[in-house]
Symmetry: C2
Subunit: 335 residues, 2 copies
Amino acid sequence: MRSSRPTVLDVARLAGVGASTVSRCLRGGPHLRPEVQERILRAIAELGYEPNEVARSLRGGRTNTIGVVFPHIANTFFSLCIQQIEQEATRRGWTVMLLSHQESVAQQSKQLAVLRRSRVDGVILTPAPGSDPEQVRKELHGMPVVALDRPLWTGVDHVMLRNREAAEMATQHLLGHGYGEIACATASPEIYSFVERIAGYRAAMARAGLGDELILAEDYTRLRAAAGEALRRRPTLRAIISLSNMATFAVVQAIRDVKHEGEREVAMIGFDDVDFATLVEPAITVVRQPTEAFGHEAVALLVQRLTEEAATPLQQRLLAAELVVRASCGCAYRD
Amino acid sequence: MRSSRPTVLDVARLAGVGASTVSRCLRGGPHLRPEVQERILRAIAELGYEPNEVARSLRGGRTNTIGVVFPHIANTFFSLCIQQIEQEATRRGWTVMLLSHQESVAQQSKQLAVLRRSRVDGVILTPAPGSDPEQVRKELHGMPVVALDRPLWTGVDHVMLRNREAAEMATQHLLGHGYGEIACATASPEIYSFVERIAGYRAAMARAGLGDELILAEDYTRLRAAAGEALRRRPTLRAIISLSNMATFAVVQAIRDVKHEGEREVAMIGFDDVDFATLVEPAITVVRQPTEAFGHEAVALLVQRLTEEAATPLQQRLLAAELVVRASCGCAYRD
DNA sequence: TTGTATGCGTTATCAG
DNA sequence: CTGATAACGCATACAA
């Protein structure tokens, strides 16, 4: 059953040629007599030969594999990115090794060690909050890396959202509807993208001469509670911006909680075009991140660097978010 | 920069021992003088040596990698499974190569070829609909496989839901609420799990002496339309069961579409505990699949078979679904 | 145009 | 207890 598979040598023997000739035939070498090539191809088919990528990797020093390390896999933002990465990698003939670090620096270290030992050619990484850039640089040990969604250190290729602009845009939109008191909700406010989005929100509020109110929490269960509390404490608070898909979920719940206690309309703009955005009433206006571009660009950048001849200059992609206007922001319903 | 990394030989030289001694030290061989071990460990630390898994794989004939092939990655059911698989694999010291086939048999063939050439030790596969089992068996070429969510051929390890029971349970629940006309909605009715769930639904309806009505479509946009149409065509239709997270989404939309046209209450039970289930009004009663168990069991089964001494008997896990009762089925609201 | 020999980094074997 | 050696499968340099 587990009969060991045929090697180039088996093919060579059957075709009555040398091993290197078979190798050349496989790799499309030009120096081949058609007749010989024919014999080799037949031998390959007959034996069901397939090259051993492990041996190729050892010999060539390249694995044709990229390591992908994300905080979580099931979070819709990341799973959409991963989906895109897998497809783009497959399309280009690369293979993906998937790992997650659960937002833990320690776990991230372990996973990077796995990638080092596996000799992957490059890495796509969304670093855990609190990562020491210099430490990560060492742990990468020279493996080319593309930072996705969060920065690593200046001088590394990355693909990120224009976080500030995105949050500003949302805030502006709410301000345009006449809301003066607008809160901003997120868990894990130490995570880079949230830091930036908070800054964007604050900038917009400051420009309008208004104060800001942050609703923060360690996790999303607490965020729901915190948002509810904020709404109760401040009856004049009528609008909230949430900074991620999870936060959006929590805020929707909080608003519903408060609504149940008495009449109270609260406008909101969510982050990420979650599927429930169009299902709830009113439909949620959201800041949509271009997840396809995240995945596509990350792979493109990495592959480019892995196959470059001369040194490619630093590549940094700053992606624009899109405001998908629905009803929750105060706009007329128009679905 | 790309200075090639130290090898066992470098470590051996620095420690003043032979290469195999270093190897034994690494693999925890018992035959080592403490003094020598000390020297080796120091050399390893000094050089920053890390074993090359590629070479190990070539030498050992095992890659410590499992291939995971799913239809899609971003579908919440699959992404939850993948998340669990990655965690369980990492915990056990295995590595995951992630691929998707987009429900295409041709794409699946290509991905299995990638896995063959990569010499992964085993595969977790959710086969594309229309797969020829014998063909897949050949394409696996002896690699141990665990089928997840959909069967492959009798005699292969698998982890699946008790689909019929799950659908029957949901149907029963609706029948218990007094609904006589209950429709069942899904796209891609050729996919195994949906076939089974349809059978379960029908069995329950037949047992109650009632006829069944299937709402089928090729994709989910059309399913939304088809469900809306069915509701309009048959004003007495007051309950729908949807067979997947995507179908649930479509049915919720359809019910909302119809509701907008006039007063009409439609009960429903969804499949998969999607996050929007608790956000819409009324909250959706759903059949919850134990995604953690899917991932965990799949890895456990596969690893067991990969590390078995003697031949392990066929392992088939049939997971039970859980009815999460909320309000959409007609039960009192109780959140 | 083709074949032979060598090495990629490990580990198992076997002799010391 | 330890060290030299061979082999895993492939691709390259070089010889023919």
